[in-house]
Subunit: 242 residues, 2 copies
DNA sequence: AAAAGCGTTCGACCATGCCGAAAGCTAGTA
DNA sequence: TACTAGCTTTCGGCATGGTCGAACGCTTTT
């Protein structure tokens, strides 16, 4: 772990927390001398990862971050293979559909139907169906101190062995009040690489059996295209927590 | 400029060029020892900026890049203020509308109407109307060796003083054959921060005068919301190249 | 006019990242 | 099965390059 690179990435993480920050704010947030942070930030600015506002001198994220994220999406086989399937799934079920990948103890939405507006949003893994699936298969790392998002959030997530058995996870208003979710894993030949889920208003919950079947079929089909031989995927080498 | 941070960002740039690369490929592309690159890459992996495929050992961009790009968009006042205006502009003109910001010698699309699918794409500044606007006002840096995209690409871009006078730039099949563009600058109180443009099939070119007027009005309105007092914006402190 | 608060620059110390070489690892081959 | 070749990964010593404190210039406030 290279110290200065790690610090640079932590600067970006700090900049994610607010629209704009002063050099001093970043420095105190990281427990470093302002001059130390200045060198790092200048390097980030030179690559467009950070921009400095001309008048105020404050720093914010830069357009190079957007380019990186876009290239990431373009190179993601999961997204390419899932796109036609989730459009069809959204049509068949009338639900909003999301595809997500693990990012530490969060999930990131990489594709959505019928509208792609949710692409890029981040949700704590323990609070959504997509995340429960990825936790169950060890693709997401559990947080030691999970955050309660709504009054319904279950801490810590239960029934992960059941998720592994059935290949499905549910969530009832744990992330957003009024929203429920159902999700299933997507795997390649040797690992769970993401999850596909339905999101519906609480009034439409529970979903009818055909929706369950349609989701299962979609997850299986996408997994097969990515090289998986069985579905639901095997439980990997994870030691199951109760 | 911190050396190791700079190298880390160059690793990300190398990873943008191909779907996946081996450690050795990255090392030779950067002229460094593989072990040197390994330490950098490991740090990037620990933050999710890069992921290593489990089976092949190859590296690719990671989901943290998408999160960063999404936060960048959410925090961009230009995007927030432009969104309603460009939707209306797309309705009025029937054209595709794009909003872009400068990134060195490229432009990055940060908003688009009627469909947002183009958000995130990168275009060389010298080859598109959006980029010519940003070059004219010094927001983009000219490349020393601009790349010819189509047979129509003008190298180097001409008529930049005229762009500053009129506040409009045009492009006829210089970036993509069959596509033409018209663009206008958007400014804050003290700098040109982006450009708004129309993109139309070559068959619809030249655009009728009402489209010119609608674009001008939109660019002026958004600039005003961002704090600009005059439009077209003053030519800054740039020394105009003939 | 004075002062406080910022970002920025500079210089010296020494911690830290860099590289060469050797070690694991997987896959392909006789 | 044993061997080879290619890769990623680990390890250790050298010196390069990053870190921090202090001083500077600037803008804004009182």
């Amino acid at each position: 772990m290279i110290q200065s690179v790690d610090r640079a990435l932590r600067v970006l993480a700090v900049l994610q927390g607010a629209r704009r920050r002063s050099l001093g704010e970043i420095a105190t947030a990281m427990g470093l001398a302002p001059s130390t942070v200045h060198g790092i930030v200048r390097t980030l600015v030179s690559h467009g990862m950070v921009v400095q506002e001309r008048d105020s001198g404050l720093y914010r994220l830069g357009p190079a971050t957007l380019r990186l994220g876009n290239v990431y999406l373009d190179n993601l086989e999961l997204r390419a293979h899932a796109q036609p399937w989730i459009s069809a799934l959204a049509d068949r079920t009338g639900c909003a559909v999301r595809v997500a990948v693990p990012l530490a103890d969060d999930v990131v939405v990489v594709a959505a139907a019928p509208t792609p507006v949710e692409v890029g949003i981040v949700i704590p893994a323990h609070a959504c169906a997509l995340g429960k699936v990825l936790l169950a298969y060890g693709a997401c790392t559990p947080t030691d101190r999970p955050r309660r998002m709504t009054g319904e959030t279950q801490l810590p997530p239960r029934d992960l062995p059941a998720v592994r058995r059935t290949g499905l996870a549910t969530e009832v208003e744990e992330a957003v009040l009024g929203e429920c979710g159902l999700a299933a894993p997507v795997a390649t030949a040797d690992e769970v690489c993401g999850a596909i889920g339905l999101v519906v208003p609480a009034g439409d919950w529970p979903l009818p059996p055909p929706a369950f079947d349609a989701l299962r079929q979609t997850a299986r089909a996408v997994s097969r295209e990515l090289g998986a031989s069985t579905w639901p995927p095997a439980a990997e080498d994870e030691a199951a927590s109760a």
